[in-house]
Amino acid sequence: MKMKRAFLSVIFVLATVLAGCEPLMVLDPKGPQAERQAHDIMLSIGLMSIIVIVVFALLAFMLIKYRASKQSKDYEPPHIEGNIIVEAICVGIPILIVIFLSIVSVKSNYIVEAKPEGYGDKEPLVVYASSSNWKWHFSYPEENIETVNYLYIPTDRPLEFRLYSYGPITSFWIPQLGGQKYAMSDMITTLHLAADSPGEFMGRNANFSGKGFAENTFEVTAMPQAKFDEWVDEVKETAKPLTEEKFDELLEPGHLGRSTYTGTHLKFLPPPEGHHHGSGNSDEHSEDEHAEHQQSSESHKGSEHHSH
């Protein structure tokens, strides 16, 4: 009886939570990578629920059938060593499940680590996203502009984020577009995303990075390419140039609102590109990018450039 009460309380908790709730962010994907991840999540929840139900059912069966109170006083439980067939089933079925999930998992790894499919031969938009305590700096090298704490992106086009940090390890995360990846001080990591529909999304640093961590967020706005181009032009007309002094100021620990600049800090503060990790097919890009930023090589604390 008490088991049942526990059971009911679980269901109660689940029900109250599920009712009266909008779709959970991660399960409400707005891009192909997040979609793949949400698919994996739902698939594994489904399979795992079966296991949970089997275990619960077996436990309930044993408890109902073999309670001492249900048996005669002089019942002596038998000595049972084990049975090859039963044990083979207990090993075999989990192995099959794990094999199946492994196949899915490996496939997904190669999907989320590659340029998103389905956008024809559109070139990805490259954005350098770097974190400093407790802000995000977004540099658009092709557009030659930079923003702080907000990110504008075009829809229906692959996005390639190059991540690094001017401080502790952070993790760049826009749940509705896809999973996170670390930004670190000594190498660049690459995250492939894309947005399928216009909208505003939450972005944040997910990896604890000290006092200002909770507020280390940024706003993401996805818009059609034409609008994005308009925005870029507008920035170029109205924003002030990003100088080295200004950038040093921005790096000071603290929180800032949004701001926008022409030019990028990549010019005077090259990212730690010597160490390039993250995925296979991004290396081609990094070559030319690299040459572009080579002219300026003033080194700065926090962005030491190590070569292999």
Partner: protein
Amino acid sequence: MEFFERFAIPHPSPAIYASMVAIALTMVAIVAGLTYFKKWGYLWREWLTTVDHKRIGIMYLISALLMLFRGGADAIMLRAQLAVPENKLLDAQHYNEIFTTHGIVMILFMAMPFIIALMNFVVPLQIGARDVAFPRLNALSFWLFFMGAMLLNISFVVGGSPDAGWTSYFPLAGTEFSESVGSNYYMIAIQIAGIGTLMTGVNFLTTILRMRAPGMTLMKMPMFTWSVLVTNVIIVFAFPVLTVLLAMGTFDRLFATHFFTTTNGGMDMLWANLFWVWGHPEVYILILPAFGVYSEVISTFARRNLYGYKSMVASMVLISLLSFLVWTHHFFTMGQGALTNSIFSITTMAIAVPTGVKIFNWLLTLWKGKIEITTPMLYSLLFIPLFTIGGVTGVMLGMSAADYQYHNTMFLVAHFHMVIIPGVVFAMLAGLTYWWPKMFGFMLNERIGKWTAWIIGISTLVAFMPMFFSGLDGQARRMYTYSESTGYGPLNMISFIGAVGLAVGFVLIAYNVYYSVRYSPRNISADPWDARSLEWATHSPVPEYNFAIVPQVDSSEAFWDAKKKGHELFKGEYEKIHMPNNSGVPFLMSCIFFVWGFSLVFSMWIPAIAATIGILACMAHRSFEKDHGRYISVEEVEETESKLRGAS
């Protein structure tokens, strides 16, 4: 004055001043009490200098319970702060310090000593030995652990607590971003306790391999002993990594080396890797002895032998190997690329197979049994469904691409609490209740015990299930606050209610101890649960020498055989018994370690050097000391035995 400024708390608050006063008052009360009741001599002779595995076990147990309350108080503050959006109860700095110490205290200073407590008390009895292989080393293990734990605990009021998370990732934990002494405490306190644990590993490995009763081959060991053997193999391989890691971290912080810094070739990823090379095996160090406890309890109260003994052993050995091959799953998101992630994704999910085998074996142990629901059994029966939820969510986390979405969120927090609380904490409470009569000669109250188990079981669900949802809704872990618009409020409020429930449960445990000390009958038999393994074949409480005559064994349930099948356990006559002498050196040496650690934390080099010399002197003393132990005479054994036979 300048000298003393370093001890000041960087971020004082009324709560901290209140704890300072509370700590001071407690100390005064303890000292006054000991003096008034003239107990100093008793304390020194019977406890501080003891090398008896049972007493050491009990001291571990008391420390673990104290730390459970310390860590629990932390947890309540954390959940209270998050219960409503934009709460002002704690500021970011305090929140960070509290979740950091909560993690360290619960894993290293609560779960580990709890496990080692049961290991100490039970294993020598289960294998029919008189003590562990190196009793004095055992005392040193305990006191090092204790001093490490105390060192970390004073950080709260002297100099400031660590605040970079229990994982203490660099460069955040380095001097570049953490200037206060907090992270020094982390490096040095855990180092001292960790050395103690490593010694425990060596000690129990030797004990189990070399000191089993005649006839007890490896495959005739009780399952708890098996789990402890495997655990200690993992300890011996994993803890040296921690030792080296903490030494490197200490060098970075105290001597400005550049192992993990952002400049001059430092590699922050190295910390993360080494941490989890130790850290993942560590979670299996926690869970395997718990599995051992469940095996004992479930088989005892199903009144049946354990189903699939061989596959239980095989699965533990397999887990111990696999546990060293999965560490990367803690940072799938570090950019290793698809191939590396795929390999570690597969090894991670593979661990679920032997773990699942164990679950099915317990279920099959219930099959055709005669199940009696006592408090320890109730914990075990609650464990099976709750741990299954924790375990399958582990498999979900093992899907590396999906983990990009779970990582660093409350989903992960929910996973590891759903494995650690039902897995480890329930097991420890089950083991505590189960072996309590053997330790103290009376039982804990069953009625209060069952109430407690239900409250803790249900509260665990209430506290942690909501986190799966808030995690999927994008709530990152370790945020000290969130805005109303995120909509995380209600879920976090439910969690808070669960946390309060857990606190009520833990208070009830303390109340049960108090109640049972006062009212529990003392005339119980040596085998109150009708159990199966050797520890129940001797008196309760257990005499110093454990068994007057070394038992003869020919199955994994020797005592059961003796009760049911006429197996003769104790053959032969009393003989004089060789026992180790007490020694104050382990305690003294650990005190010096404390001074050494404290000096290093505050970079006070002269006392640090003096303490180093003191430690070496203690070791030298041990090397040249001639101590061959002592004998308990046959008359003395006879006298004790007849007295105890009268008592139980």
